[in-house]
Symmetry: C2
Subunit: 147 residues, 2 copies
DNA sequence: GTACAACTTCAAGTCGACTTTAAGTCAAGG
DNA sequence: CCTTGACTTAAAGTCGACTTGAAGTTGTAC
């Protein structure tokens, strides 16, 4: 259990080996010890990856996760790190929810109220209402592939 | 008003000219009439762009918007087109909301319950709990630049 | 005649989080 | 010795929605 290959670790944490190499490359994981050129990991690496996975689950970007590990003075307790980053993320999530909610509202209104025959007619109505200049950009279809 | 340049149209609908050319390129807009090589637009193009902007506001991808215009038999009324696509999108938005909500829940729990000193300790806890294999992928920080 | 602004095309660049590909290395088994 | 499988690297590709850049054309003003 002390020395695992990259694929053993990948299996344990539910990642592809390429992702683990990538994390190392961007400095999210410290360079692994090598045994005749191959990476060898112990449980601390697995724990670190568990944290990374959890953080991704919480909506953190890899850059934010790097902050979690490296963006504080070494004495800063983990709990405080989490709290600091979580506050910002929570606000972001709320903003995102609001964005989605307004899409939903508008979508429902659209479904109820539109009786246009042609798209052109529809466009004329929208254009007159003037409320089309803003562009909230959709948060993306969620749920990415998971190996 | 009958004949506008691309930049006049861009101004009216709040897009960059490059976006309009791009829409033409991917077939979202029909190729514009040319006057000595330059594109000339009338109000129907503006209406079409108004529809596109509104649809983007509702969370539709450009591909979905293309469906809105080209994915139905020509006789299909606009209102019916909207309703068909909106139903799917509404379901997607709901799924996205659920994803965000579960992130929020987990985030709050994390903030309350984590008292770890070190990240390593934190990782051990997460790893033991086993609930880190899934990877919901965050919907993206919303609100993209708007020209 | 030439400067200028506004347009044109086509190709390439951007962002984030990876994956894929090509070419090479290594240890074990037959 | 040779194959096999798991690993290695660096570079390039992927996705969506554009933007940016380079190089060229057009019409108008001075």
């Amino acid at each position: 259990m002390a020395e695992m290959t990259i694929s053993a670790v990948a299996r344990q944490v539910g990642l592809q080996t390429s992702a683990i190499r990538y994390y190392e490359q961007i400095g999210l994981l410290p360079p692994a010890q090598r045994s005749s050129g191959q990476r060898r990991y112990d449980t601390t690496a697995v724990y670190r990856l568990a944290v990374i996975q959890r953080a991704r689950q919480l909506g953190f970007t890899l850059e934010e996760i790097r902050q979690l590990f490296l963006g504080f003075r070494p004495v800063t307790p983990a709990s405080e790190r989490w709290r600091k980053l979580s506050q910002k993320k929570l606000a972001e999530l709320d903003a995102m929810m609001d964005g989605i909610k307004s899409m939903r509202r508008l979508l429902r209104k659209m479904m109820q109220r539109c009786h246009c025959e042609t798209m052109d007619q529809c466009g004329r109505g929208i254009f007159r209402s003037g409320a089309f200049t803003v562009t909230p950009k959709l948060p993306e279809t969620s749920l990415r592939r998971n190996r």
